[in-house]
Symmetry: C2
Subunit: 369 residues, 2 copies
């Protein structure tokens, strides 16, 4: 397998204006070109677009308006896990030798058709993601005694981290009390336990070992990949206190990268809801099962940004098709040492966990300087 590295990236601000999906992608691509001075349109052999938008032929549209004539070009969709899927697809084009340089751009609008699980007829009125997160929360609370305050700390931490992310949707912090007293959406979930749909786009450039020299002196290698899809409907899970697809994906990624959880210096985890981060830090091996709350509390109290330094989905906003790619951009910047006020000292190995629909599918990537 040929080596593949992150060669460049671009982001847009996450907001709720009325920009179209193709324009959002163009803005992130423009930022990527500005960040990558030696990159020319002719270098790019693959253009993949990641979104839940209903647009057709979007990768060709975005290629045309960006002045790119790629070999390989299509759209990738797997709900919230679209971003990691598209990045791993681009990885495989390069790793196989079919291409040397790939551009992957994800974007979503705040009114995305991917926000509600309309496809799941068995959900009845409970199609909104708050219902699965409510079930996860109730299960974890019952089994491990996780408290309302533990959940609020995830949100308080990630809003605080997002203050140093110039692209974040949220621009303010909330106290643990404010979060605990925010509007109850279900018995288990409050408004500030949730990530917010928004507009946003993130673009990454991947390159082979030969090609990357033109674009950066600080390549960040993708050394581990794991993916798993268990089902579409989340009631297939026997145990709603863990994410089996994340456990499986992490196991594959650690094995491929020859790493273990304690090797990870910085991680982006998919905190669609506050309970997710608590479960994920457990399932990725950063905390013992049932002790995720203690790890998150400790990070919050010591102002350690190791988990979700850009503010996670809760602080940064969650433009579905862009999220997995924005996570990769953050870990890329952390490992390059260009994360500014968010920088984790001496970060050498990072992890991205992206997932969909109650973790019925997950992707885990390990990146290394």
């Amino acid at each position: 397998m040929r080596k593949v590295a992150l060669a460049g990236f671009g982001l847009t601000e996450f907001n709720k204006d009325d920009t179209t999906i193709d324009s959002l992608m163009l803005l992130a691509i423009k930022a990527l070109f500005e960040n990558t001075p030696n990159l020319g349109q002719k270098d790019i052999e693959v253009v993949l677009t990641s979104t839940n938008d209903n647009s057709k032929y979007l990768s060709s549209i975005v290629s045309e308006i960006s002045g790119i004539k790629p070999k390989i070009s299509h759209s990738v969709e797997s709900l919230c896990n679209s971003g990691a899927n598209s990045a791993i697809s681009a990885f495989s084009y390069i790793a196989s030798g079919l291409a040397d340089v790939a551009l992957v751009v994800g974007a979503e609008r705040f009114d995305s058709p991917g926000l509600v699980l309309e496809w799941d007829k068995s959900r009845g009125q409970y199609k909104h993601p708050i219902y699965w997160s409510s079930m996860f929360t109730k299960s974890h609370v019952r089994k491990y005694g996780t408290t309302k305050e533990d959940l609020a700390i995830v949100s308080a931490k990630n809003h605080k981290n997002a203050l140093d992310n110039p692209y974040a949707f949220f621009k303010k912090t909330y106290s643990v009390d404010e979060i605990m007293n925010s509007k109850n959406l279900t018995e288990d979930i409050r408004l500030l336990d949730c990530s917010m749909p928004c507009n946003g786009s993130a673009a990454i450039l991947l390159a082979s070992e030969e090609a990357i020299k033109k674009f950066t002196d600080i390549p960040v290698w993708i050394t581990g990949i794991g993916q798993k899809t268990l089902s579409a409907g989340f009631t297939k899970n026997d145990d709603l206190t863990s994410m089996e697809s994340t456990i499986d994906s992490a196991s594959m990624a650690y094995k491929m990268a020859e790493n273990k959880p304690t090797d990870i210096d910085v991680a982006e985890v998919h905190d669609a809801f506050s309970i997710c981060e608590i479960i994920e830090v457990e399932d990725l091996g950063f905390a013992k099962k049932g002790k995720g709350n203690e790890l998150v509390r400790d990070l919050y109290e010591t102002n350690d940004k190791k988990i979700n330094p850009r503010g996670g989905l809760i602080g940064s906003g969650h433009p579905l098709g862009a999220t997995g790619l924005a996570q990769i951009v953050e870990i890329g910047q952390q490992l390059q040492g260009t994360a500014g006020r968010r920088q984790i000292s001496k970060a050498k190995i990072g992890l991205v966990q992206n997932m969909s629909a109650a973790a019925t599918s997950s992707s885990v990537l390990i990146l290394q300087r």
Copy 2:
């Protein structure tokens, strides 16, 4: 690059009933399992779905209803070129070493949102594909003297070939006169010059050299791949008498496979409209430029099924996301020698050409017994 071969396939009948997109895919997957006795759900590491349907999370839904828990799973869209894109993506997962066995399933319904180029605001009222095919036709007629009869012969040949395809949408032949006298849709195009939207699904199984032994004794290797996206809007073309993206894709595929046009024993080309087949046999190097009509006339008169043996899109129907995969299935059967009454004698090397939207993007695959 690891070797990748076609290990199995399944098809549904192409028709216009009211089957849902997920059910269409399930039917093709069921047929694939029936055709591949040693295949178990646990063998499958990749499930890619190819469609223009607006369904979200379709690859996970189809995986769940098929009893498959893949590692890699997402939907791929590039209008009519979705099928080849998804197959080549699965190829790259295996060629790279990320997976050994991949299932790719494409499907479309007759009422697909991919049928009209709604995304192209610059088209005004001329968004229907008949307008680009009308421009191609007029250009080729002017430059090379291609006649209305030449066009009708493409359709007559492909309807005749489709009679031996049990899955084809059309079940009857038309005389050249009937086709020439069918309803005028534009000055250049008649109803029977067009492929018809319909329901249909096609599934293929790809496997690595190590894995394939379990599934078939007659692997068909994918030896050449070429892809090119030039634009989204088709008025970027300077010359509407050829398909630049097909020329580029064919050149890459021939080079990778170390083949030349005269090596190809059988080909599936994307005859969305009759003019397309005439241009494509020229651009793929099977006929001199401007002489595509003579090749097609000769095939028709000698009952030679070398080009579009299953009846092409015109005879078989055109369920967008399934088409590229159905083309691969046909070439697979031809090279395995299992094409029944459609069988091309001693076929060893085959070619698939799949394209989108006035050939603004194309894919070419070369397969070899």
